[in-house]
């Protein structure tokens, strides 16, 4: 009897809690709207990250593959040669070197500092004059993700045997064609799972958006907690939603990996 009543009490209190935290005052909207923000920031940050990452990876691997040698060449044989063609060649080679240095700096700084600090620097310092929090978060997380994507893509390019590159060049393809037709398609297959994983990492990382007052899902749950003085319901709900999204994507990645493994080679 006593036990029965206590379970009933517990269920009732659970119901009350649920009502208090989600229904009352339409508080669930904090989480729904927050989820929208989280997804929006993640989605566009991933796109930005991939674009930036591919660009950086191509600059870095181009410099590694042909830039270094061209630079040595230029230093050893062409420096004194004042023909227009040679000056142009020197300019291109040194530009590549310069951009490679910029990329390295970018990778070092971004991967060497916490993303939440980067977000705060973006919001409070770099874009202090703007109040478009979503856009700033997209930029900050996109630029952050780009550094990790760059290393994923670069390792993908570098993992392709140099013989593939030589075979392409020996047929008469130029550097860009060889990259486009031979190297990137193979590299892409290899890194697709890692790229998908980057999305999973990013969606969790956006949970620090509250530091700049952006109301993402985490912040939404936290606002409910501060209104109702009960932490359990809102925080568990938020955690569960992250978990469901991540599990959904992990499943997708696994399926993708299996598909890729089963296809030729």
């Amino acid at each position: 009897m006593y036990l029965y009543l206590s379970i009933e009490d517990w269920l009732r209190s659970l119901k009350d809690q649920f009502y208090l935290n989600f229904i009352d005052d339409d508080r669930y909207m904090y989480i729904v709207k927050g989820l929208g923000v989280t997804l929006e920031v993640t989605f566009f940050a991933v796109l930005l990250g991939i674009a930036l990452g591919i660009l950086v990876a191509i600059i870095r691997s181009t410099y590694d593959k042909i830039g270094k040698e061209a630079l040595d060449d230029w230093k050893n044989y062409s420096r004194g040669n004042k023909s227009l063609r040679n000056i142009w060649k020197g300019f291109l080679t040194w530009s590549l070197w310069f951009w490679d240095q910029i990329c390295r700096l970018y990778l070092t700084v971004i991967r060497g500092t916490p993303v939440v600090i980067q977000l705060m620097i973006a919001y409070f310092i770099i874009f202090a004059s703007s109040n478009n929090k979503v856009l700033i978060a997209i930029l900050a997380f996109g630029i952050n993700s780009g550094a990790y994507v760059a290393e994923i893509v670069r390792s993908g390019i570098m993992s392709i045997d140099n013989g593939q590159f030589e075979a392409g060049r020996s047929l008469g393809f130029n550097y860009i064609q060889t990259m486009a037709y031979i190297i990137i398609p193979q590299a892409f297959k290899n890194i697709l799972p890692a790229l998908a994983n980057e999305f999973i990492v990013l969606i969790k990382e956006t949970s620090v958006s509250g530091y700049v007052g952006l109301q993402d899902m985490t912040k939404g749950g936290d606002i409910i907690r501060s209104r109702t003085y009960s932490a359990f319901m809102p925080l568990i709900a938020v955690a569960a939603i992250y978990l469901i999204i991540v599990m959904f994507f992990s499943k997708l990645v696994t399926m993708l990996e299996r598909r890729l493994r089963n296809s030729e080679r």
Partner: protein
């Protein structure tokens, strides 16, 4: 001079580490149309470097290479145009694993020579039949044996209708029982008049189809001559030592 000259190499040098390593140390020779030049020599003698310099996969540090009358080491040459006319076959085949056999063979003619898909595929199939692999057109490289892969690599190069084919140890990565099928394809090519430069350890091939044999050591050409001259009456001491080891 001789109209038949296809490649003229003059004092070709390839130095590494500011001259500390001389992979090529002044190579001069000419290769005429229809010749099958076989390059032999001990490991590290510069055979690959020489071959790969011919299509500028290695950039020479000195000397000149003329191909069809044009100095290809000059910075004005369009390297990519030139490579279209010089096919290359690698020790490890280097087929493109993400493309089918047919795609491996047609991608370059279609993208570079702007051939139509139908024309490129017709030509590819004709060549596939020639190497008895007509039924594998839609297979992928991973589904082929080593010997089959190398035969595909050869016909892939042929699809660009090159004026010369360069081979770097085309049978060295093959199981012994597959060497013959690849050499047979190369012999057919030689018989059809294809100009070939072949780095190989297959002395039987050199004797049988080589029109000229070049013996390299220490980045230099030590001896060159007909197979008879090289194999039957080697005068040079280093060549004799080398032949004693490989024959």
């Amino acid at each position: 001079m001789n109209d038949n000259v296809l490649i003229r190499v003059n004092d070709l040098k390839k130095h590494y580490n500011n001259g500390a390593i001389k992979a090529l140390d002044g190579i001069s020779t000419t290769i005429s149309k229809g010749e099958v030049v076989v390059v032999i020599g001990p490991s590290g003698s510069g055979k690959s470097t020489f071959l790969r310099s011919l299509n500028l996969l290695e950039k020479p540090t000195g000397g000149t290479i003329e191909f069809e009358g044009q100095d290809i080491t000059s910075s004005k040459t369009d390297i990519n145009k030139l490579r279209m006319k010089m096919g290359m076959v690698f020790q490890h085949f280097n087929l493109f694993p993400h493309l089918s056999i047919l795609e491996n063979m047609t991608i370059a003619p279609r993208k570079l020579l702007k051939m139509s898909k139908a024309d490129a595929e017709a030509e590819a199939k004709r060549l596939l039949d020639k190497v008895a692999l007509g039924d594998r057109a839609n297979a992928y490289p991973s589904q082929l044996s080593g010997g089959q892969k190398q035969r595909i690599a050869i016909v892939r190069a042929l699809c660009m209708k090159p004026d010369v084919l360069l081979f770097d140890e085309p049978t060295s990565a093959l199981d012994p029982e597959m060497v013959g099928e690849v050499l047979d394809v190369m012999k057919d090519l030689a018989r059809d008049g294809m100009t070939m430069v072949v780095v190989t350890h297959e002395m039987g091939f050199a004797k049988e189809v080589g029109t000229r044999v070049i013996f390299m050591d220490g980045g230099q050409i030590i001896e060159e001559g007909t197979p008879d001259e090289i194999f039957d009456n080697p005068s040079n001491e280093r060549l004799r030592t080398f032949l004693a080891k490989v024959l």
